[in-house]
């Protein structure tokens, strides 16, 4: 039972708050011999797996380290070029560490604004009139719960599929939002929420829910 993250999207579709609760780390370290049976490519300032899947390494994963030395961009921390090392036969065997890339803040903003049209389309495409937008979206690895307030602010929780009672938690987050963000005289609407009280209270609620269920919320 895990809650992965919480997002709050303003009525105009911008991300105003996000909190990563538990992010599973997906990393695999493996010794490779020459020639490398995985095709790597440098794009968006990351070295990503372009082709070839094996032992938990998937297409889209990012190269994190070579022989235990972290890679940033295409350079190793000691200044050498990562792709050159991988191409050179004499450097083998190499220990490469791959992992699923973490979402950057930019990507989160992008995804949050992407949800807005999906929500609107879902209510437009309804076979029955006056449908709401997406309330629950399930995939095999997570379940997304969305609650839209009367003013159009959307609260989104990404959680494990079996996690129950998320609709109650969404309303609880709404309560926290109105108590600690809206009642904060320094908070202006539609702007990113930077309120310490909101952060701490949200964290305690999420931890409570994970530990002891929804009984105490």
């Amino acid at each position: 039972m895990v809650i992965y993250g919480v997002y709050i999207v303003s009525k105009s579709g911008g991300l105003i708050f996000n909190h990563d609760h538990t992010l599973p780390k997906i990393e695999t370290e493996k010794t490779f011999s020459y020639p490398l049976d995985i095709k790597l490519q440098y794009e968006n300032k990351k070295i990503t797996v372009e082709f070839g899947q094996r032992d938990g390494i998937h297409v889209g994963h990012v190269l994190y380290a070579i022989n235990g030395i972290p890679v940033s961009g295409r350079q190793l921390d000691d200044g050498r070029d990562a792709l050159e090392i991988i191409e050179n036969k004499e450097n083998y065997p190499l220990i490469l560490k791959f992992g699923r890339p973490k979402m950057t803040t930019n990507e989160k903003i992008f995804l949050a604004s992407m949800f807005y049209p999906l929500f609107a389309l879902a209510s437009q495409l309804s076979p029955e009139p006056k449908s709401s937008g997406i309330e629950v979206l399930e995939a095999d690895t997570f379940k997304l719960h969305c609650f839209q307030t009367l003013t159009g602010v959307k609260m989104i929780i990404i959680a494990d599929p079996p996690q129950a009672g998320m609709d109650i938690l969404l309303r609880k987050i709404y309560e926290l939002y109105s108590d600690y963000a809206l009642k904060n005289p320094f908070y202006s609407l539609e702007m990113p929420i930077r309120c310490e009280l909101f952060d701490t209270n949200l964290k305690t609620v999420l931890e409570q829910v994970e530990k002891s269920g929804l009984a105490n919320v």
Partner: protein
């Protein structure tokens, strides 16, 4: 909204949902998007290995719809479209036999019958 417009919107939405799901997922996905629910209906989605997509809209209480979609693929689509020498792959399906078989199949399924009660 005409049927054609609706179909285009639906395709656009599903395409975006697919990429949205693959990006926001905390771990690596296998099947990806399964279904979404609004206050009035549930949309179930099945994508088979060749990229063909099956979508069905149901009410919110329907159970076992994913299995129904699998069966529509294996028992109706494969039987009456793939094995039909006149039907071209990736062309609009015009076979009347397919239509009637599909309709009968859905109407006799547990999902449809439980709605009637």
């Amino acid at each position: 909204m005409t049927k054609e417009e609706e179909a285009k919107l639906m395709y656009g939405m599903l395409f975006s949902i697919k990429s949205f799901v693959s990006k926001i997922s905390p771990t690596d996905i296998k099947e990806g998007f399964l279904h979404y629910k609004t206050s009035k209906y549930t949309l179930h989605y099945l994508e088979i290995a060749s990229g063909l997509k099956f979508v069905i809209n149901t009410d919110n209480n329907a159970q076992g719809v994913r299995e129904l979609l699998q069966q529509i693929y294996s028992q109706i689509y494969v039987e009456y479209v793939v094995k039909n020498p006149l039907a071209m792959i990736n062309q609009p399906i015009q076979s009347d036999l397919f239509k009637t078989k599909l309709e009968n199949f859905v109407k006799s399924s547990a999902v449809y019958l439980s709605k009637a009660i």
